[in-house]
């Protein structure tokens, strides 16, 4: 077998991940709490944090705001493709490294598609301020899936041929059945998953609209899961079609209703992207890649995160007119009578 890199686990090893679930209270209890309480109870310094959503769709933005307010050190971020969640967390580190820091990122893509590249990713990587491990979207998704399946690794074709296998913990072996090379990827079992969904009940059962992204796999793989939802509904309504439930309650530790919790990203049925706001944050960081001062970035955080008590206060600053426009822009994609 080809050993590309020394093996080590970030987050939980498969045995530790099993142990975490065995010891967890899996009862069907009321898990509603404030976002403040959820973040302080379930996120710790040094954690491997699994980030849900896909690029700027259903990113756990509200949870990230609260993490920045509380301040955490030496986090590992794990995601397939992400935009605003890592951008906000990394921006906090760039603006104030004593209060917030990321040690490592395991990822497939960090950027904003139509809204631009990520200046925070460039800033941190090009200065050697964080370590990282490149994977592909399928690699990261399959790693979470392996974690969710209770397996230590998963075989995929993805990293064969290119350099991803050389810069990651991928191992290549000859398949025992076909004799051809196959890639083995280590499972990812984060300490905590950050997930934003359309609807949940107080026990943590979740319904997701639009792309599932890799949310269910991340939640099932992690030791703890914090869920924010647009709509908190009764257990009876949520389970009216049990097969709609994407994440089951025992995987979830905290449920918080946070309307616009993925904003300024998009959330199907609720709101479309506010691209101008995404670009506003990118515009605060981009000049720093060329040696610019952090003044605009610090002002953004003071205004939108440190200077407010809650995510609701940040949303209030966006203004009703803008929020109605973003809601209307999404409504045309899923027109229905209320």
């Amino acid at each position: 077998m080809e050993n590309s890199a020394k093996m080590f686990w970030t987050g939980l090893s498969p045995d530790e991940a099993r142990e975490a679930l065995v010891n967890k209270d899996k009862s069907m209890k009321d898990k509603r709490m404030t976002l403040k309480e959820a973040v302080s109870r379930f996120v710790k310094n040094g954690d491997n944090v699994g980030i849900g959503g896909f690029v700027n769709v259903r990113q756990p933005v509200a949870i990230c705001h609260e993490m920045i307010r509380q301040g955490f050190k030496d986090l590992t971020l794990s995601f397939q493709s992400a935009g605003m969640a890592p951008e906000l967390l990394a921006g906090a580190m760039i603006a104030n490294p004593d209060k917030f820091s990321i040690k490592r990122v395991e990822l497939a893509y960090w950027g904003h598609e139509a809204f631009g590249l990520s200046p925070a990713w460039r800033y941190l990587a090009e200065r050697g301020l964080i370590e990282f491990e490149d994977w592909s979207n399928y690699n990261m998704s399959a790693r979470f899936k392996a974690g969710a399946m209770g397996l230590p690794f998963i075989p995929t074709r993805g990293p064969l041929g290119g350099d991803i296998k050389n810069t990651s913990r991928t191992k290549i072996m000859d398949c025992p059945f076909t004799g051809r090379p196959i890639a083995l990827l280590p499972a990812s079992n984060p300490n905590v998953a950050l997930i934003h969904v359309q609807a949940a009940d107080m026990y943590g059962n979740c319904i997701i609209r639009g792309t599932d992204a890799t949310c269910a796999e991340i939640a099932m793989a992690s030791a703890h899961t914090i869920v924010t939802c647009e709509q908190l509904v009764s257990h009876d309504l949520l389970t009216s079609n049990p097969k709609d439930i994407m994440i089951p309650f025992p995987a979830v530790d905290a449920v918080i209703q946070v309307p616009y919790g993925a904003y300024p990203g998009a959330c199907r049925r609720h709101y479309w992207f506010n691209g101008d706001h995404v670009r506003q944050l990118l515009g605060c960081i981009a000049p720093m890649c060329k040696g610019g001062a952090p003044d605009a970035l610090k002002a953004y955080y003071d205004e939108n995160i440190y200077g407010v008590e809650s995510f609701e206060d940040y949303i209030a600053k966006i203004g009703v007119k803008q929020l109605l426009a973003d809601k209307a822009a999404e409504a045309v994609h899923c027109e229905r009578l209320v």
Binding site: F54, V55, N56, V57, Q80, S81, L107, A108, Y109, W110, G111, E113, A114, L117, S118, W121, R122, A125, E126, R127, G128, D134, W135, S136, N137, Y138, N139, S141, A142, K145, T156, R157, G158, P159, L160, G161, G162, D163, I164, T167, C175, R180, P181, I182, A183, R209, G210, T211, D212, A213, T214, C215, A216, E217, A266, R268, R269, F273, G275, H333
Partner: protein
């Protein structure tokens, strides 16, 4: 058909990309220009084209217009099947995707693509000169779609003998059965579309070969903008300039806000 006189470099890429796609095939579409090209193909010669997006949507009619993200609400509405990323990539690994349509920042003569980093490799991997976004789904599409179509703007700095990093494997080192021997599936890079022309990969050597030039280009001008020796097909033809109607479709119907196809400065 009236020929457009004011088309841009991105618009001819989109038109060429659309024409390479075949009707009634499944195409796994990456973000950016591949989305625009796939939409143009389905509005013109390929109404039966079935797009798959990596966040999970299969076959959406895209009647609300161009997605701004391969995971957004527009890819979902009216889709025949939607799961998540594992679902989309498992379909591809299984063999459901006839084409994969991807871009990159740097390409070599065997159609290997880089979208990870620029700089010294491996020594400078953890502190690259320029850090790019990363693979996204491109390396998976490259490893498992049956054929891939690549889009790279033509620039001597982007067409290199050796890449800083191979994110999305093409024909690897061009040796016989290189992809099969590495464990991959699919025939690999099928066409490359640049701002100067269309290329295939010669059957024996798997090397990049010019097959069609865009108007105004010559074999010499294209070779001069390429950092390695190109193969030239026996009968290189000129790719016709986009028609007024094709340009109108891109500007007015497919990408009216210039999300991916930038407007020319007036």
């Amino acid at each position: 058909m009236t020929v457009s006189t004011d088309y841009t470099a991105q618009e001819i890429i989109v038109v060429a990309g659309a024409k390479v796609l075949e009707d009634n095939k499944i195409v796994f579409v990456g973000t950016g220009l591949p989305m625009v090209a796939s939409l143009l193909a389905s509005r013109t010669h390929a109404p039966g084209l079935i797009p798959v997006f990596e966040a999970g949507a299969v076959g959406p009619p895209l009647k609300h217009g161009l997605p701004v993200s391969v995971g957004d609400s527009r890819t979902f509405t009216g889709a025949s099947y939607v799961k998540g990323l594992n679902g989309a990539f498992e379909l591809t690994q299984r063999g459901f995707a006839d084409f994969g349509f991807i871009g990159g920042a740097e390409v070599d003569m065997y159609g290997n693509l880089n979208s990870t980093m620029m700089g010294d490799f491996p020594a400078g991997y953890q502190k690259p000169k320029v850090r790019l976004p990363g693979s996204g789904g491109a390396s998976d599409m490259a490893a498992s779609c049956e054929r891939t179509i690549l889009i790279v703007p033509h620039d001597k700095k982007k067409f290199n003998e050796k890449l800083s990093y191979v994110t999305s494997p093409g024909h690897l080192d061009g040796s016989p059965n290189a992809r099969y021997n590495a464990g991959m599936q699919g025939k690999g890079p099928y066409r490359l579309i640049t701002t100067k022309g269309i290329f295939d990969f010669e059957e024996k050597t798997k090397r990049m070969r010019l097959i069609q030039m865009f108007p105004g280009e010559t074999v010499e001008s294209i070779q001069a903008a390429t950092g390695f020796e190109l193969l030239i097909a026996d009968n290189v033809t000129e790719f016709p300039a986009p028609t007024v109607e094709e340009v109108r479709l891109i500007r007015e119907e497919i990408d009216p806000n210039g999300v991916f196809v930038k407007r020319a400065a007036k």
